[in-house]
Amino acid sequence: MGLNVENLAARRGDDLLFSQISFELKPGEALVLTGANGSGKSTLLRVVAGLLRPEAGHVSFVGAADGEARPAGEVSHYLGHRNAMKPELSVDENLSFWQDFLGDSDGGKGLSILEAAEEVGLGGITHLPFGYLSAGQQRRFALAKLLVAYRPIWILDEPTAALDAAADRMFARLVSGHLAAGGIVLAATHQPLGLDGVKELRMKGFAGTVQDIAA
């Protein structure tokens, strides 16, 4: 049960960014990746999400319902540096599109758009075009996107960039709520998330060249 990462390695060009990374996250557990810029945090997240092919190792998720292993990407939310929202459409249109398109994974149910907007503290302005909002507000609605469709795993890349202190607390509340409901969170950040009892993985960057693996 949970997210399983075994012996993962990935490269950029000829250099290995990381190798032999293994961890296991059970429902309700969170892992925070820390490290300097370029240490491979984003790459590791994209490999786990299934967006990049690993050089070695594999990633799998075993669900509570069927006990079958499947690619982790299918049951994950991925929030990258960009918000995946269209500035021409209203917040409401954006969120309802993602709600319909993503659908709920087994074992949970997403919030309605109104509830999700209330959760991120911006209940009254879902009718506005996304492009009118400030960077912080846009990021908050990108977080609301995680709530409208249920996914057991959240993969978050610098989720609190562009957020102020109040929004940081709001984010910590969302994450602990997700963990309490049996979710898994995998986040890369260099700011403290304000969460207790999370594992931490320190990325060092450069783990040798590709030839090292072969040898």
Partner: protein, 254 residues
């Protein structure tokens, strides 16, 4: 009456959109009534007029075609004046004026093109020929559409207005070309018969309905133009309010 919007934007240079809105609210009903009355009279006169011995009933297309073509050119001239207002005086009403005139100009140009080809099919035996007059009017139509597309493509209305003002002024060279194309080139389209230095050559029986229709079309244009300007101003205020709402949201919790 016809120059109210221009007088406001050019002479005083002080008129603010709010005063314009108040003025527009008072004027639009009156102008609409006058337009309807003029159209009633003009259409009655058009249908009551005798038919041409060569053209038969198709001559009546002229009562729509000619005023629409005049309006197509006049609308562009209004836009060019507004464009000067935008570039020289930087007056916000001028921005609104040429932006809201473009769709009207496109509509009048389309009407003149369609009525022209409806007339051309029985008279010339073809819907369309590529002679100088028709081609230059078609280019005018494309220019209107281009200006509309340019305005739509830009987010910031102030910047869009300045850029399209430059485009409008550059495109103004087309207007004299349209006007004099029938004289400079030997075209299938007949030369001007009303607006001539030596007086109109058209028969009085056709001239009066044509003039009434022309005035009716002009009134229609200015009524629609002022209404469209009002809508554009209101639309910008709604946008401003929504941006304000976005800025205010989420302030409470800090």
């Amino acid at each position: 009456m016809s120059t109210t919007s221009l007088v406001i934007s050019k002479v005083t240079g002080l008129a603010n959109p709010t005063r314009f809105l108040a003025l527009a609210a008072r004027m639009i009903p009156w102008m609409a009534v006058i337009t309807v009355l003029l159209f009633a009279a003009g259409l009655y006169m058009s249908f009551a007029s005798t038919s041409d011995y060569q053209q038969g009933y198709t001559v009546r297309i002229m009562y729509v075609h000619v005023p629409a073509a005049w309006l197509a050119m006049m609308c562009y001239s209004v836009m060019a004046l507004s464009a000067i207002g935008t570039l020289v005086w930087r007056h916000p009403l001028a921005d609104v004026s040429h932006k809201s005139a473009a769709p009207l100009g496109a509509a009048f140009t389309l009407i003149s093109l369609i009525t022209g080809s409806l007339w051309g099919k029985p008279m010339w035996g073809t819907w369309w020929v590529w002679d100088a007059r028709l081609t230059s009017v078609f280019i005018l139509f494309l220019m209107y559409l281009g200006i509309i597309a340019l305005n739509r493509a830009m987010d910031d209305p102030g910047k869009a207005a300045r850029v399209s003002a430059v485009l409008i002024l550059v495109g103004f060279v087309n207007i004299p070309i349209i006007k004099f194309s029938v004289e400079w080139w030997n075209t299938l389209h007949q030369p001007a018969s009303v607006m001539r230095m030596d007086g109109p050559t058209i028969d009085k029986a056709f001239l009066w309905p044509l003039l009434v229709m022309a005035i009716a079309f002009t009134m229609l244009f200015f009524t629609l133009h002022i209404a469209a300007m009002r809508n554009e101003i209101l639309r910008r205020r709604v946008t401003a309010q929504r941006r304000l709402a976005a800025r205010m949201a989420g302030r409470g919790e800090e």
